[in-house]
């Protein structure tokens, strides 16, 4: 069974005059342990699709299965629980909580899930920060790190609860070439070694090409 399956997704955005048909019937599947890039022009509906898959938004039409669970009709609380346990997000902006250290930021999703003891959470967060190359900066506050470092903390945070699927919307959009390469490589390798799926929106054709699959979007539809 596929990890994620969507069928005929439609989404209108905006109200009245600005109302736009952003997604016009999108269907595809995602397998565990593989990496996917969504490519396409600006305004083609990539982010809209990603937010639907991430259960941050609800489709106007169509269905979304995560595993065997149909999620598009779940209420807010249930969708939130699915996000917590099964999804990880990396956005263009890292959104670290600046009152918390890098380590504590990574622990936030674990605290909510509540499956690990405090020492186990610490150990796991430290390990994840080690994996993104920040083993020596775990005690830094969010705003005491460089942009690239902050984005790597955000990746560690996305991986905190061992999500089945990592959703990334232009995770390297704010980074220079060297950092972008590094962050992308990290995401891809972590996903591969942990058997997680990665779905990434990217404007960078070179990075997109390094994924197992590239989905092309145009005017709210996936091209074959």
């Amino acid at each position: 069974m596929s990890l994620l399956r969507v069928e005929n997704l439609h989404r209108w955005l905006g109200e009245g005059e600005t109302r736009a048909h952003a997604l016009r019937g999108v269907s595809f599947e995602i397998e565990s342990g593989r990496t996917y890039a969504i490519a396409g022009h600006s305004g083609s509906g990539k982010s809209t699709l990603l937010y639907l898959l991430g259960l941050l938004d609800v489709p106007d039409e169509g269905r979304i299965w995560i595993g065997d669970q149909e999620t598009s009709r779940l209420d807010d609380e249930a969708r939130t629980a699915v996000r917590n346990a099964r999804l990880g997000f990396v956005f263009q902006f890292h959104f670290l909580l600046k009152e918390f250290t890098a380590l504590e930021n990574v622990m936030l999703p674990m605290r909510k899930l509540g499956r690990l003891s405090e020492p186990d959470m610490r150990a796991k967060a430290a390990e994840l920060l080690g994996a993104v190359g920040l083993g020596d900066k775990v005690r830094r506050l969010g705003n005491q790190l460089s942009g690239g470092e902050q984005q790597r903390v955000a990746i560690a945070r996305a991986l905190a609860n061992d999500p089945a699927l990592i959703l990334a919307d232009e995770p390297t959009g704010n980074l220079d070439q060297a950092n972008a390469d590094r962050v992308f490589a990290l995401l891809r390798d972590l996903a591969h070694t942990r058997g997680q799926a990665l779905l990434m929106v990217s404007h960078n054709p070179e990075l997109a090409a390094r994924c197992d699959h590239v989905l092309h979007m145009k005017d709210g539809r996936l091209l074959d």
């Binding site: 629980a81 956005f91 009152e99």
Partner: protein
């Protein structure tokens, strides 16, 4: 520690100054609230204690005569005296019968007959109008605080002297009287010579200025009242029983019987208005801190919108987010109430040590305070309600943040 609580603590730290201002407001508000209540209630209860010590809890006075009494049914105790046809006959003609009847009320712990009249006091070539009160010393001390009101001389000397006199402090001052001095009283009957055995001070101006106590037996010829009493003063096990008991006594003995609460209604109203108005005034301090709290929390919500969105995306529910802000309010109000109550206790204690000379409706040489846990409960209650309401709206606003649209709005 629950994650929302942890986050609440960190967010509080991010707005330390504004939060400290709100906290200070709550501490001051709670403390001032309690201190002003302790003081007004202190004065009130001291006034009550004084007035009870002077005029007793219940007084049986004029006899109610005749009138048609409408019984609800034959033999029913429920009856209505028809207005207008009721006549009052001054005084208590048979105080012994009243005393017998009062024995049937277990709440009554003591009763004492008193006769009252007017006389002129002559001493040191001066004249002064006084109100002689003829008392039975042994029972009267049980229905008043006369013993503790003595500031010079002694009741023991008075007890032994059939023509002894106990004069009010201001009478003594006005007439320049000393203990041991001999004076003449001229009333409705024949003038008589008395010796001042003691001087009392109640603090109530009107009493200290005109009242003198003498023995009932000596008072009769002076005022030309060979029998009966002007009133019977009653003491109860609990002053709070008076309003319920007085009508029953009135019903049973046919004499107008007034509880102290009704007799002192005017002053009691003054005190309760004072107390309520000071409570309202001081509560505004708490309200303003609540407003400050509301403002600060709204600022935090606006400031942290993206962080809230990311928390929602990683699995924090609307309830969690709401709790983050309710906890912030809760922490501040909890701290504020605890510190406020400590400050209140310290302030109340300090106030009670401030010297101030008060005469007029009672006598005190320092601020009077009443320690009442309910003042603390009320202040805490107001603070908690105000802050929780002030936190509720920002919390609701935070909980309504849609993570998708915020995150979408923040990316290019």
């Amino acid at each position: 520690m629950s994650p929302p609580l942890l986050i609440a603590l960190r967010f509080l730290g991010a707005r330390k100054r504004a939060m400290l201002m709100s906290l200070a407001g709550i501490v001051f508000g709670v403390a001032f609230f309690v201190v002003t209540q302790a003081q007004t209630a202190g004065f009130e209860s001291y006034f009550i204690k004084t007035i009870l010590g002077v005029n007793g809890m219940v007084r049986v006075e004029d006899r109610i005569q005749g009138g048609r009494v409408l019984s609800a049914a034959d033999g029913s105790a429920f009856a209505i005296a028809v207005e207008g046809s009721v006549k009052y006959i001054p005084g208590v003609q048979f105080p012994n019968k009243v005393a017998e009847a009062l024995a049937g009320f277990p709440e009554v712990t003591a009763s004492s007959p008193v006769i009252r009249g007017n006389a002129t006091l002559l001493a040191n070539f001066r004249e002064y109008d006084v109100k002689p009160h003829g008392i039975e010393l042994t029972t009267f001390v049980a229905v008043s605080d006369l013993e503790s009101q003595i500031i010079d001389g002694s009741l023991a000397a008075f007890a032994e002297n059939p023509y002894g006199l106990v004069v009010g402090a201001r009478v003594a001052r006005r007439m320049n009287l000393q203990v041991g001095e001999s004076v003449l009283l001229d009333g409705a009957g024949e003038p008589q010579r008395f010796r001042v055995n003691a001087i009392f001070e109640t603090g109530i101006d009107q009493v200290d200025r005109e009242r003198v106590y003498l023995h009932l037996a000596a008072c009769r010829p002076l005022l030309n009242k060979p029998t009966g009493a002007s009133f019977v003063q009653i003491n109860l096990a609990d002053p709070a029983l008076a309003p319920a008991l007085a009508p029953r006594i009135q019903q049973a003995i046919g004499h107008s019987t007034m509880p102290w609460q009704e007799r002192e209604k005017t002053w009691l109203q003054v005190f309760s208005v004072l107390r309520v108005s000071s409570a309202l005034t001081i509560s505004t301090i708490i309200f303003i801190s609540g407003l400050g709290m509301f403002n600060t929390l709204v600022m935090i919500v606006v400031d942290k919108t993206r962080e809230i969105a990311i928390l929602r995306s990683m699995g924090y529910t609307r309830d969690d987010i709401s709790r983050i802000f309710m906890y912030q309010g809760g922490i501040v109000v909890a701290l504020g109430v605890v510190l406020g109550c400590v400050a209140a206790a310290a302030g109340t204690w300090g106030l009670s040590k401030i010297p101030i000379r008060i005469r007029g409706i009672f006598a005190s040489d320092h601020f009077v305070v009443l320690w009442d846990p309910w003042h603390y409960v009320a202040a805490a209650g107001i603070a908690v309600v105000v802050v929780l309401v002030a936190s509720y709206f920002p919390a609701r606003r935070a909980a309504r943040i849609e993570p998708g649209s915020i995150i979408r709005g923040s990316s290019s």
